[in-house]
Structures are given as C-alpha cells and as structure tokens.
C-alpha cells in the first residue's frame, strides 16, 4: 500500500480552503471548514490520518467511529441552518476523498461502526436530497466502507486522472486472496472486466464519474491546477442545481448505458411488472 494515504487529501483541502487544521472540538482525523467557491460559501470535508488518534485502527487514514459521526455532525448542522433557504442558496458540500478503508477494529465493531457509517451516509444523502449540491473530489484512494461513509452519496464524483487514484471495494492483496488469484492475475483481469479494475480510467467506464481531471502533480497542487479544479467544482455545482437530487445520473451517461446495461434492464423489467403485481 502507498505510504502517502491522506497526504493528497490534506494538500487539496489546504489548497482549496487555505486551512488544514481540525476545527475546535473535532478529532484530529477530520478537516472541516467553510470556504469560498465561486460566488458562494461551501462546506469542505476531508478525512486525514492522525498517528496519535485514540482509536488505533484509524491512525493510517481509515474511517472510524469518530470520523463518521463528526462528518455527520457538520453535515447535519449545515442542513439545519439552510433548511428554510431556497435550493439555489443552500450551501454546497465538497468532500475531498483520500481514504484507505473503514477501520478494521474490535473497538469499532463493538461500538457499531456499521451504524456510524450509516449515520454519515444518511447525512450526506440527506444533504443531497435537501438540495445541497454534494460533490466528491477523489484526490487519492477511495476504498470500500471508507468511501461509503465519506463521499459515495455525492450528486457528482470528480477524480484526478492519475495512477495514484484507486477507487475500489477492496484492496488488491485481500481481493486476490479471497477470489483465489495472484495480484498479477487480478491486475490482468481488471483490463478485461472493468468493475474489477484498480485503474481509474477503467472506473470511468462504469459511468459513475462526472469527470476525470488532469493535474500536474496531485501531491503538490500548483496555482494553475488549483484554479482549474476550482473551476470544475463550480461547474459540477451548477450542473447539480439544474438536475435531480437522487443518484439517477449514475445510470444516464453513455458509459453507464454500455457497462451497466444489465442493471438498467433489471430496472426496466421490474418497473414493467410492478404495476400488475
């Protein structure tokens, strides 16, 4: 695994907000602040590694109990404050994603990390359904339960087009073991079977991404890159405001129509049979 997990998240959080310190009262693993994007203020959220976290199994950038409830706390606050505002005035939420995984720990299981992750997903989805544009920017890794907790409920997902990006259900070593393959075989298979691939360009074929962005060096944002990314985020926010608040856009792109055609056919068949049942 890369030793740089979470560094990109922090770098882009700082680049876009001018801030890289946890808010007062928050654990050291969460960066949350409000900052200007275009003509408005948005809530920016990021999960970062904290080697001195009191929960040992989140120290390398995993998403655990405190992380999930802290994300949910910030999201619920913004939803409540903007409740009476018209949709065009509801603050956007920008999730900067660079997460290794969910926390694999006994403390976490005992205290119900499944529920913590659910509460965070609920808060992200509630923000989206209330009309807040929710945009995820995948700056590094987006694994499994970590991504479900932080970012996968977004209206639009943007990602850098870079070999350091990995969006996946399980890291290579574990996936190879469980599916009884070598890591090399798994990588080979990814070229033929897009949903298995660890390459973000194959992920883009699934139709789940709004846009792939090119930046010079994702670890060290340049002024030009920051401006360009900011521009893309503003574009995504505008696109959301003119569209639906559900996730239907993930089935509507040309890529989705090709790669997810089995799922699209199931939806059509079920709808056809539903009325007569």
């Amino acid at each position: 695994m890369s030793e740089h997990i979470g560094l990109r998240g922090r770098a882009w959080f700082q680049a876009l907000t001018g801030n890289n310190r946890p808010a007062s009262g928050d654990p050291g693993t969460i960066l949350a602040t409000e900052a200007q994007i275009g003509e408005e203020i948005a809530l920016f959220l990021c999960v970062v590694p904290n080697p001195s976290s009191r929960f040992p199994c989140v120290r390398d950038g995993q998403v655990g109990l405190e992380e999930a409830f802290t994300l949910a706390h910030h999201l619920r606050r913004v939803i409540a404050e903007d409740r009476e505002k018209p949709k065009a005035k509801k603050r956007p939420v920008i999730a900067i994603v660079d997460v290794k995984s969910q926390a694999y720990g006994r403390r976490e299981e005992t205290a119900g990390i499944f529920f913590a992750a659910a509460a965070s997903s609920d808060a992200y989805a509630s923000a989206r359904m209330a009309g807040h544009p929710v945009i995820s920017l995948v700056a590094g890794q987006a694994f499994s339960g970590g991504f479900l907790t932080h970012g996968y409920q977004a209206n639009r997902i943007l990602s850098f087009n870079d070999p350091g990006i990995v969006i996946h259900a399980m890291h290579k070593e574990a996936a190879a073991r469980i599916t009884r393959r070598s890591v090399a075989e798994l990588e080979e298979l990814g070229h033929e079977i897009a949903p298995m691939s660890y390459d973000v360009r194959d992920y883009a074929k699934l139709g789940l991404l709004y846009k792939l962005l090119h930046v010079e060096d994702p670890n060290h944002p340049t002024t030009a890159d920051i401006d360009a990314v900011r521009h893309e985020l503003i574009d995504a926010i505008q696109d959301v405001r003119s569209g639906e608040t559900d996730l239907s856009n993930r089935l509507q792109s040309d890529a989705a129509k090709q790669t997810r055609k089995a799922g699209i056919a199931v939806r059509a068949a079920l709808e056809a049979q539903w009325q007569n049942a």
Binding site: Y104, E109, A111, S121, M196, Y203, L247, A262, A277
Partner: protein, 290 residues
C-alpha cells in the same frame, strides 16, 4: 410422556431460518396476495460471473416479492445467503434499488408501500467489485428516499448475518429485526483478524463474536429494534406490526448528536466490554429509540 407434551410450542413451530430466501419472503405476506417480480424465469443473471468461470443464477440471489402485509402494500427484497454468500452484484443491487424506488413512487402518490429487506450477506460481490460497491451506495440512497414515506424494515434472521456495505443499509433502515442466530456488523471477524491481526480479533473465539455482533447484543444496545425467536409465525407478526406502524419524525441514524456524545464518552485505551456498553447505551431516557 412424549416430547411434544413437554415443549409443544418448540416442536410445532415453523423455523424461519431453515427456509430459503424465497420462502422467507413469501412467508411474510398475507395469503394469496403476493407475486414475485423479475423471478428466475426472467433469467436476469449476472453478466460478470460467467466471464470469471462462475455459474450465475437466474435470480442473481435476490428475490423481490410484492403483495400485502396486514392488508397494506409491501415489497420484500431477500438476499439468498446460499448463492455467492448473499453478495451484492450489479443485478441483485439493481433489483433492490428498483424495488425501493418503485415503493417510493407509489408511496409519494398516496399508496404507502413498506419495504422489508431480508439481509443475509457478506457485502459486495468481489467479482463485480466496483459495481457492487456502487450498488450499495444506491441501495442506501433509495432506502433513505423511501423512509420518510413508508417503513423500511431490515430483517436479519441468520445464519449468514449482515456484513460489509449492506450493514449500512440496515443502519439507515426505519427498523431492524434480528434473531439470536443473526449477526450484524461492518467487518466480519475473519476480515479484522486478516487486516489488523489476531491480537485485535481472534476469529476463532465464538463467544466474542456473538457478544459483539449477535442479535441479542445489537438489540440490547439499541442498534436494532426487536429480538425475535426463530419462528416464522412470530417473525411474520413482528414484521406486520412495523409495516403498520406510524411514521416517525426522526429515525436512529439521524440521531447524530446522541451517538457522537456516546462515542466521545468511550474509553478507547483498551478494548470495549460489550456487556457494559449494552448497559450504558440501553437507556430510554437519553432518547434511544425503543
């Protein structure tokens, strides 16, 4: 004296756990009111499994049944734990989201339609990896879209349990019903042992596993709502009660401040004792549901 006189109730009961997913789902409905949608004869199977030398199944391990429960419209979506560990792939995931979305559409139009998720699953199907993970995100979203309009009830009977991404779908449900034979958690014991070592979690320690993930514990600590016996009639009655229940202004996964405070109060310097956590969280005066 024969045994039926001693324990007649036990002997005459119909086990729910012994039923397959299809018969479990059927057993919840009023007699003669149900119909399976996109069933095995429609042959909508995974396009990804055959590419990897794995035999697909005509229902992709997900059964959708629509009908009436206690006279009210409902849809049950059941994952078959015996097929690929109940894992979520593109097709099974699409069945779930589509059924939930149609229930939402009917409910919004004034025909309240409850959904029951029968979850026996290890989570994402790794042969469909990213489409499985995407399906989980969509299922969660669709549960949340229906929840303000009609009850979404997760039933975990066992014995596979509910793990991985689908545990989040349980977490956002209006109600969770479990048996003592059921387990609920994000990471299974084997996964934790593999990722974090045997000192973190000894996956051969059965007592520890049940103390943490078991139905009695999850209901006891109020992360699930009802503990039911493995009895089809009792389960049916419990589900019927939730299908008919009034909607609430707030569900458990919206109670962020309560649980954030509870996590802040945990001593993380050592492992957490499940029984004492249960006692601390099982406090109806702090706003825990039920």
């Amino acid at each position: 004296m024969n045994q039926t006189n001693i324990i007649p109730e036990f002997v005459s009961r119909q086990s729910f756990i012994e039923l397959d997913a299809r018969r479990r789902a059927q057993s919840l409905f009023d007699e003669g009111t149900w119909k399976e949608l996109v069933g095995p004869f429609d042959r909508m199977e995974s396009p990804w499994l055959p590419l990897q030398g794995i035999a697909p199944q005509f229902d992709d391990g997900c059964i959708v049944i629509k009908g009436k429960i206690g006279g009210m419209p409902a849809v049950a979506i059941a994952l078959e734990g015996a097929f690929q560990g109940g894992s979520i792939g593109e097709v099974s995931g699409a069945k779930m989201t589509a059924a939930l979305d149609l229930a939402t559409k009917d409910s919004e139009a004034g025909k309240r339609t409850a959904a029951i998720l029968l979850l026996e699953t290890g989570g994402v199907r790794l042969q469909e990896a990213n489409l499985g993970l995407a399906a989980v995100a969509e299922v969660i979203s669709s549960v949340l879209a229906l929840r303000p309009h009609a009850p979404v009830i997760t039933l975990i009977a066992g014995t596979v349990g509910c793990f991985g991404g689908m545990s989040l779908a349980a977490g956002v449900s209006s109600y969770v019903v479990m048996t003592r034979e059921a387990r609920l958690g994000l990471n299974g014991p084997e996964v934790i042992e593999q990722e974090s070592g045997i000192d973190e979690f000894d996956s051969s320690d059965r007592a520890l596993i049940w103390a943490i993930h078991g139905g009695e514990q999850r209901v006891g600590m109020e992360l699930a709502d009802a503990l039911v016996e493995d009895d089809a009639e009792k389960i049916r009655a419990t589900i019927r009660g939730y299908v008919q229940a009034d909607l609430r202004p707030e569900y458990r996964s919206q109670q962020v401040e309560l649980y954030r405070d509870r996590i802040a109060a945990l001593d993380a310097s050592e492992q957490i004792d499940p029984m004492s956590l249960r006692q601390r969280w099982n406090n109806k005066t702090t706003g825990g549901l039920r």
